[in-house]
C-alpha cells in the first residue's frame, strides 16, 4: 500500500466519557491508517475500545457525555470536530457502519425498503420510484433471493442472516468508500457467519470499498483482512499485516490471542488462554497496560509504552519486542504450506 494516499488517517484519537472530575478515558493515542480498498481488522477483547473507536469516527457517541481528541483525516477533512451537517453528508454516503445485532439495529416499524430508500433519498434526493428500484438492486446485490419481497418486508419477518444482508445493503447502497463493520457476524449462526463474511469480502473487492472490520474473532480477521490492529485497554498495541502477525506476532497480547484460537490438530490438549482480565477504565495502570497479565513482564514494564515502528508495515507497543520470539497461530512451515 506504500505510495498511495491513505483514505482514512487516524492519529492521537482519544475518547473520554463522563466529563468533569469523573471523566474516564476509554481510548488513548489511537493511530492507524486505512488505504483505499484495504481491509483492516481491529481485534481485541470486549471493552478494549474497538467499538468506541468505530463510533467515534462517525461521531455516533452521545455528544453530551463524550469528549474526543485527536484527528481522523478522511478525504481532506477532519472527521473529529466536523460540523453536524457536514458529518451527516459523510455518514451513509462516504463512510457506512453496520452493527452486531441486525434485529435491534433496524427500525421495527418501517419496511426494509423504506429504510434503504430513505438513505438514497437523503443523499441523492431520488424520487420514490427511483429509490425503490435502487433499493431492490441493492438487496439483490447482497445475495437476497427475492429482493422485491424483502423490500416490502418488516425486519421481524426476516431471518437473522437476511436481516444482516439487508443491513449491509442499506450501508452500501450509496457506494461508500469505507465500511465500518462492528462485529457483524457475532450474533449469527456459524454457517450464516461464513456467508456474511464471504459477502463482505466479495463486495469489498468488487466495489473497492475499504473495510474496517471490528471483531474479537481472530479467525474472521485472518479470513477477511490484509492488516490487523490489536487493541488492548484502549490502545493499539500492534499493527501488522495479517500474514505477518499470524506467524510472528511481536506483542505478547497478540500472541496470546493467536494461541487461544482453537485448532483441530490440538484436540485433547488444553486450549491456552490469557489469565486475568482487561483493567477497568478507572484503574488503568500507568505503565504497560498489559503488564499485569503478561508472562514476559520485567523491569521497565512499569513505564508507559510508546508504539515503535519495526518496518514499513509493522508497529508494536512493547519495549521488549526484540527480546523474544513469540508463538503465533501458525508456524513458519505451516504458513509456507
Amino acid at each position: 500500500m506504500a505510495g498511495a494516499e491513505p483514505l482514512l488517517s487516524v492519529s492521537g484519537l482519544g475518547v473520554f466519557f463522563g466529563g468533569g472530575p469523573d471523566e474516564v478515558q476509554a481510548t488513548k493515542d489511537i493511530d492507524f491508517a486505512v488505504y483505499p480498498g484495504e481491509r483492516v481488522g481491529i481485534v481485541g477483547e470486549s471493552g478494549c475500545g474497538k467499538t468506541v473507536t468505530g463510533l467515534a469516527l462517525l461521531g455516533l457517541l452521545p455528544p453530551a457525555t463524550t469528549r474526543i481528541v485527536g484527528s481522523a483525516m478522511f478525504e481532506g477533512q477532519n472527521l473529529i470536530g466536523l460540523s453536524r451537517d457536514r458529518l451527516r453528508r459523510v455518514r451513509g454516503r462516504k463512510i457506512s457502519m453496520i452493527f452486531q445485532e441486525p434485529m435491534s439495529a433496524l427500525d421495527p416499524v418501517f419496511t426494509i425498503g423504506q429504510q434503504i430508500g430513505e438513505t438514497i433519498r437523503t443523499h441523492f434526493g431520488a424520487s420514490k420510484a427511483q429509490a425503490r428500484e435502487r433499493a431492490i438492486d441493492a438487496l439483490a446485490s447482497v445475495g437476497i433471493p427475492s429482493p422485491a419481497r424483502v423490500h416490502d418486508s418488516y425486519p421481524h419477518q426476516l431471518s437473522g442472516g437476511m436481516r444482516q444482508r439487508a443491513m449491509i445493503a442499506i450501508a452500501l447502497v450509496c457506494e461508500p468508500r469505507l465500511l465500518i463493520a462492528d462485529e457483524p457476524t457475532t450474533a449469527l449462526d456459524v454457517t450464516i457467519q461464513a456467508q456474511i463474511i464471504d459477502l463482505l469480502l466479495d463486495l469489498s473487492t468488487r466495489n473497492g470499498t475499504a473495510l474496517l472490520f471490528i471483531t474479537h474473532d481472530l479467525g474472521v480477521i485472518a479470513e477477511t483482512c490484509t492488516r490487523m490492529l490489536t487493541m488492548y485497554a484502549g490502545q493499539v498495541v500492534e499493527d501488522a499485516m495479517v500474514d505477518d502477525a499470524l506467524v510472528r506476532p511481536l506483542h505478547p497480547y497478540t500472541s496470546g490471542l493467536l494461541r487461544s484460537l482453537p485448532r483441530l490438530s490440538e484436540r485433547g490438549t488444553v486450549l491456552p488462554s490469557i489469565a486475568g482480565r482487561v483493567p477497568t477504565l478507572r484503574d488503568m495502570p500507568t505503565g504497560c497496560r498489559f503488564a499485569e497479565r503478561c508472562a514476559h513482564r520485567q523491569v521497565g514494564c512499569d513505564q508507559a509504552q510508546s508504539i515503535a515502528r519495526i518496518d514499513a508495515t509493522h508497529r508494536v507497543r512493547c519495549h521488549r519486542h526484540a527480546d523474544f520470539v513469540l508463538p503465533g497461530a501458525l508456524t513458519e512451515r505451516e504458513a509456507a504450506a
Partner: protein, 317 residues
Amino acid sequence: MRGQSRLIGRRLAQIIPVIVLATFVVFGLLHLVPGDIAFTLAGENATDARIAQIRESYGLDRPFLVQYASWLWNALHFDLSRSYLSNEPVLNQILHRFPTTLLIVCGALSISLTIGIPLGILAATKPESRLDAAVTSLASLGVAVPNFWLAMLLVATFALSLNWFPATGAVAFAKDPAKSILHAALPALALAAGGVAEVARQLRSGLIEILSSQYVRTLHAKGLSPAAILWKHGLKNVSVNLLTVIGLLVNRLLGATVVVEAVFAIPGMGSLIVHAAINKDFPVVQGVVLAMVVVVICMNLLIDILYTILDPRVALK
C-alpha cells in the same frame, strides 16, 4: 389483514363474558345495599299488602339469579327496563345524557393530547435540560392535583370571578354547539390536567428510550437529519406507547366524570349514576354500568386494531 380479522374476532368473543361479569357484579352489589326498594316505592304509610304488590309488580320477589337473568335477557334485546323513580325507559335516559358526557371526555382527551404531546416531545429531545425538568415537575403536579379540587378552583376563578364561562349545567350540542362547548370547557379542563401530565410523561420516557436505541444509532449512521429521525422514526415508534396511554386515559376520564359532573352540576352519565345509586334506582345504575362497559370495550377494541396498523409485529402474534 388475516391477522387483523382474527384479532377482532377474538376480541369480540371476549366481550360477552366481560359484560356478563361486570353487570353481574354490579347487580349483586346492588342487592347487598341495605333497605328495601319496595318500601321506598310504596311511599309513606303503605300497607304490607301494598308493599307486597309492588314487590310483585317489579319482579322483586323473584330469586336473585332469576332477576339477573331476566334483566340480561331484556338487555340483549335493547330493553334496559324503566327507572323506578321516573318510570322513563333507562335506554332513553342514557341516550339523552351520554352526548353531554362524551363531549366532556372528548374535550379532556383533546386538551390532554394537544398540550401533552408537544410537551413530551420537547422534554425528550432535550433530556436533563431545564425544560425537561420543568415538564417533568409539571407532569408530577398534574398527576397529583385532585380533579374535583381543580374543578372547584376553575369554577371559582373563571366562572364566578371572571364570568368567562358558565358555572353549571350543560346545553345539548345539537341545540347550540357553541354554547355547549362553552359549558363543557371548564369540566374538560379540570379532567385534562391529569391527562396532560400522563401523556407528556409517557411520551417523554418512550421517546427518550427510542432515541437512544440501536436502530436510531443506525439512522444517524445512515446520515439522516435529527429532524427526520425524530418526526419520522421517533413519532411512529412512540405512537404505540401513545395509543396505550390514550386507551387508559379514556377509561379513567369516563370514571372521573362522576366527580366532575357533580361539581359542575352537569346532567351527564356521571350524575345520572350517582343520583340513581343514592335513590336505589337499580335499573338505571345497571344500565349506566352496561353502557360504560360497552364503551370501554369498544375503545379497547379500536385501540387494539390501531396497534396492528401502527406496529407490524402485533398482527402476527
